[in-house]
């Protein structure tokens, strides 16, 4: 029977990351990573003056 381990939050990174692993016989057999935060910057950028796109895109990650 596979065992499932979830690590959430992953620390010392920027953002909200979650890792799920499936373990069988002491080995990782499957794993998923998922971003746990969404702001929709793609949608926010639509229809804006392209000359100011950078002030939004630059702030996707501040690290």
């Amino acid at each position: 029977m596979a065992k499932r381990i979830t690590i959430d939050p992953i620390t010392r990174i920027e953002g909200h990351l979650r890792i799920d692993c499936e373990i069988e016989g002491g080995k990782v057999t499957n794993a998923w990573s998922s971003g746990q935060m969404w702001r929709g910057i793609e949608l926010i950028l639509q229809g804006r003056d392209p000359r100011e796109a950078w002030i939004f895109a630059q702030r996707i990650c501040g690290v």
Binding site: P9, T11, G15, R39, I44, E52, I55, F56, V63
Partner: protein
């Protein structure tokens, strides 16, 4: 402060002399709008490690730029000073443990310091669809903020996202991003807007609490008045150009190169409250803030301005001062009266200037400078 007290600080902050430390405390008193006579009290508060307030730092819809600004100052000891005067019990970017360990340290700090800890919120709080757009350890950020705030002794919203919604709340606000004061209605939330905020404003707020046992004076939006009491336009180093009517009209034009006022390029300094021109950024000396580098302020700290009014749109000036007239960038010459003589004289003048410019270039024996073309009019 006695020499013995200082020895303790020196051991913790590294290479800093007593004189520098006291000067630092005087500057801080000044930045807080207090008499420098209160510097010893501030020094004492920083020196006394018994009073380190436990801090829980939560991350919502953010880019971690607020945390970075705190960790990246080049001036020695700002980050060590902050991390030294507070006890940072939970911070996802700086935690040693992850997953359950991190969650356990959060729960432990909340239990042990109930009613005493300082909650610092970085990032907006998405409320749409029951808050599913930001989750930590399986909980929504919305529920986490409400839970941690319920037992906090003080709450600080750092950065524009937490203070008023910031980028994630920009139109069409896909996730219902909401500020901390709006989510925590009825509670006092100190807001330190800015994208990024200035780390000195956080430091000064914390030091004020340590030194005087209470929050600094806040305006109706929760902003400390020592930092947000004035418009950028009121303290801008380019203000004399504004008052004299000297403006950069285009990026890269003569007025822009000469450091003229950036109002016509869309500067939002006239409607944005912040102390950027006074304390600037990164301790790198004069000019390290947007206007200082030649870019108009885009109003990141002010709700309804940053990420809202387009960057190159001119704003109404809230505090205009009259100026006599708009001075041209190239000073005008007296113009002859009759149109015919004017045309002739203009031509002759143009030739004369052209000729002397050529002579000058020959004399200097230098290649033409495309960035500084000689005006031939």
């Amino acid at each position: 402060m006695t020499t013995d007290d200082f020895k303790g600080i020196k051991a913790r902050l590294g290479d800093i002399s007593r004189r520098d430390f006291m000067r630092y405390c005087s500057i801080m008193a000044g930045a807080l709008g207090l008499s420098t006579g209160l510097a010893p009290r501030i020094a004492q508060a920083i020196a006394d490690p018994k009073r380190r307030p436990p801090v829980i730092w939560l991350h919502g819809q953010e880019c971690t730029g607020c945390t970075e600004t705190l960790l990246r100052p080049s001036h020695p000891s700002l980050d060590s000073l902050i991390l030294d005067i507070i006890s940072l019990d939970y911070h996802e970017t700086l935690c040693a443990g992850a997953g359950q360990q991190a969650e356990a340290s959060l729960a432990q700090s909340m239990r042990e310091n109930a009613g005493k800890y300082v909650l610092i919120i970085e990032g907006a709080i998405p409320v749409k669809d029951n808050g599913i757009y930001c989750k930590i350890g399986g909980k929504t950020f919305l529920s986490l903020v409400e839970e941690v705030a319920a037992q906090a002794g003080a709450i600080i919203a750092i950065g524009s996202c937490a203070a008023w919604g910031g980028i994630p709340s920009a139109h069409p606000n896909p996730t219902g991003a909401t500020s901390a004061p709006e989510v925590l209605k009825g509670k006092t939330v100190v807001t330190l807007p800015g994208c990024p905020p200035n780390p000195y404003n956080l430091l000064s707020t914390v030091v004020h609490v340590l030194s005087f046992g209470k929050l600094p004076k806040l305006d109706s939006l929760g902003r400390p008045t020592f930092a947000y009491g004035r418009l950028i336009h009121e303290n801008c180093e380019r203000r004399p150009h504004f008052d004299a009517g000297r403006f950069a009209e285009k990026f890269g034009d003569e007025g822009h190169r000469l450091g003229y006022c950036l109002y016509k390029l869309g500067c939002k300094g006239p409607v944005t409250h912040a102390n950027c021109p006074e304390i600037q950024f990164n301790d790198l000396g004069g000019g390290t803030w947007p206007v200082g580098t030649g870019h108009p302020c885009f109003g990141c700290a002010e709700k309804g301005v940053g990420f809202t009014i387009p960057m190159f749109t001119q704003v109404e000036v809230l505090s205009p001062t009259p100026f006599a007239r708009q001075a041209p960038i190239i000073p005008e010459r007296p113009v002859p009266v009759s149109p015919i003589t004017a045309a002739l004289a203009g031509g002759a003048l143009g030739l004369a200037i052209g000729a002397s410019a050529v002579a000058l270039r020959k004399l200097k024996d230098s290649p033409d400078d495309p960035d500084h073309p000689v005006k031939e009019d």
